[in-house]
């Protein structure tokens, strides 16, 4: 493990707007340097993306960036992060993705010239490797096209590189619906860890070459899938919360390979990573209700350095186009945090505490990413000698934190969930200490039509 100690060990310091290692953009936005910035993400309304439809696609993105940045300028935002998360055909055909990158960058420059508004582009090509099943993780046309888009956008001026990588997910959906924590640890800490290391080493090379930053990854396809499934009452919330803790081990690998933040918005594991690495983090919560409901709408803001809406379609609301409306909402959220911060540490700390208290007792997933829990979970990770052991340690810690809080009445857990603590602990007790043995066990259980072990360097 690269990180063996914590960058932040006091929950009070694990707070919005300030990170031990802030990051300065070319235009001088200092992320983690005392100001929370809005981070806007948007997507298309129902239209087809193909050669014929690209004119309309372009028009959509051009309208989005003009409308949203115009509003940000009117509201005198101190700067904004624009995230462009591609849709599959845009990564498959990097030339389409690049057309949009250029439209966005032009729009950002135009607004800068007009009003002086600072902005920075986070580029998040979507990970198409799963389009082949079982997926090729380290070669093939999807891999090539994806790297090409990263390279092109870094060259064009996208300063923050991100991805929501899928390595290990082939087995994880199954693990979730089965409530199988062992398989989840295998997906995240064995397969995920290896894929992340391979992928982020490549991304780091690209970032270095073009003088841009590797920002971070998210175990979205794991932790957020769990969250959405829990929200829909498909799986227990306590299970989703423990899975969330384990996702931190996977997402950490990006930072081990050179990423410096801000971590990707939908990584609700980011508070744990901020405690470990000291890098700034994007977070999302109530103002991403447009993209998914959340049990930690306020609490998620307690530790954020940029504050995101996750994703909203370019459709018309009564107040205007939805991305413009959400830009406004994000800006007001940020203004409040920045006001408290401007008054000093104690004031900021006070707001952080309310944001936490708002949600912490209502849901195990909220509880698990509170500053207090995050520091403890982070400690469990940096105290481990391997990612596999870190996965076990952080899961164990998560179960025990939840158990205690429940027992002490500091956390409300539904009646049909309480039994899951024992189930999860039993699973953890049964895991072998030897990583090799664990891998053999899991490979034997895994559906071999779904994934190729060699693509993870396992054989």
């Amino acid at each position: 493990m690269k990180y063996t100690s914590l960058a932040i060990d006091d929950p009070a310091e694990l707070i919005f707007g300030v990170a031990p290692h802030p990051l300065t953009t070319r235009e001088g936005m200092v992320i983690g340097g005392g100001t929370v910035y809005p981070e806007l993400n948007f997507t298309l309304p129902p239209i087809t993306i193909d050669a014929a439809g690209m004119a309309e696609v372009r028009r959509n993105y051009a309208d989005i960036i003009e409308g949203a940045l115009g509003r940000a300028a009117e509201l005198t935002a101190p700067g904004v992060v624009i995230e462009f998360e591609t849709l599959p055909p845009m990564t498959e055909h990097p030339e389409w993705g690049m057309e949009i990158v250029n439209i966005l960058i032009e729009g950002m420059e135009r607004e800068k010239a007009r009003s002086g508004l600072k902005s920075v582009l986070r580029m998040t090509p979507n990970d198409n490797r799963e389009f082949e099943r079982p997926p090729l993780m380290r070669r093939g046309r999807y891999w090539e096209a994806m790297l090409q888009l990263f390279e092109g956008s870094a060259a064009a001026g996208a300063e923050l590189l991100s991805i929501e990588s899928v390595g290990g997910k082939e087995l994880h959906d199954e693990a979730l619906v089965n409530g199988d924590l062992a398989a989840s640890i295998f997906s995240l800490c064995i397969l995920g860890e290896r894929d992340m290391r391979f992928l982020w080493t490549h991304l780091n090379d690209i970032a270095k070459k073009h003088g841009v930053y590797c920002a971070g990854d998210t175990a979205c396809g794991f932790g957020n899938t769990a969250m959405v499934l829990a929200e829909q009452k498909m799986i227990p919330r306590v299970f989703a919360a423990v899975v969330r803790a384990v996702t931190a081990v996977r997402s950490l690998v990006a930072y081990e390979c050179g990423a410096v933040g801000p971590g990707k918005d939908c990584g609700y594991e980011n508070p744990i990573l901020k405690a470990i690495t000291g890098f700034p983090m994007a977070m999302e919560g109530k103002t991403s209700a447009c993209a998914h409901l959340s049990p930690m709408g306020n609490l998620a803001a307690a530790t954020c350095d940029t504050w995101s809406n996750e994703s909203v379609q370019n459709i018309k609301l009564l107040g205007g186009m939805a991305p413009t409306c959400y830009m406004e909402q994000l800006i007001y959220d940020c203004r409040l945090m920045n006001c408290a911060r401007a008054e000093g540490r104690d004031s900021a700390r006070m707001l952080q505490r309310w944001l936490v208290e708002s949600d912490v007792a209502t849901d195990p997933q909220a509880f698990i990413i509170s500053p207090e829990s995050s520091v403890e979970l982070a400690r469990a990770i940096v105290g481990s000698d391997s990612h596999y052991h870190a996965g076990i340690a952080v899961a164990r810690k998560a179960v025990s934190l939840l158990r205690e809080a429940n027992a002490a009445g500091r956390l409300r857990i539904a009646g049909n969930e309480a039994g899951w603590f024992d189930t999860l602990d039993d699973t953890l007790d049964d895991l072998p200490d030897s990583e090799g043995e664990f891998i053999s066990q899991q490979l034997a259980l895994a559906d071999s039509t779904k994934f190729i072990a060699a693509e993870y360097g396992l054989t």
């Binding site: 997507t43 055909p89 389009f131 959906d173 619906v177």
Partner: protein, 211 residues
Amino acid sequence: MNELHPLTQAVINGRRKEVPDLVQQCLDAGEDAKSIVQDRLVPGMTVVGERFKKNEIFVPEMLVAARAMKEALKILEPLLVAAGVRPEHTAIIGTVEGDLHDIGKNLVAMMWKGANMEVIDLGVNVPPAKFVEAIAQHKPHLVGLSALLTTTMPAMRTTVKAIRDAGIPVKIVVGGAPITREFAEEIGADGYSRDAGSAVDAALELLRAKA
């Protein structure tokens, strides 16, 4: 509540290992395979489905029950085939072209199986032609289409059109997070459901209408 048959109870509790013996006892007692399925297994899955709908249990528990039922079917299927009995309804399901989301679709497939339908899962990223081909081959009563991306909603429209153009009479039901009842109607689907729980009702309603 009425006393439940031990096999039904074993399915409900997901006691997979006890199932083979219990099935054997039924057979020994002279019950035929079809009635074991209909009167012992399906009622068990129905109870499980109801509990799930009421949020008393979660998918993992439901899957344990489904696996127990599968254990029974392993024994019964050869007998059913020999007797020429097929599940009453066959369904094909898949996620439309360009879309890789499948958790929701898989849950719907699971629920349909629990209701004793034969379900052929074409997987994700399924082109319209593949749906049409599979329909021609399996002659299902029902086709389920899933889409999770706003940008693959048009592919859902294309798929419905391709199936209609192929002229094979089949009921189409659609779903997925961005799909609305209005959209379903607009593209000419026969049914829509917003979650896995009601997907069974939606299917049965269409199948009854057909009958």
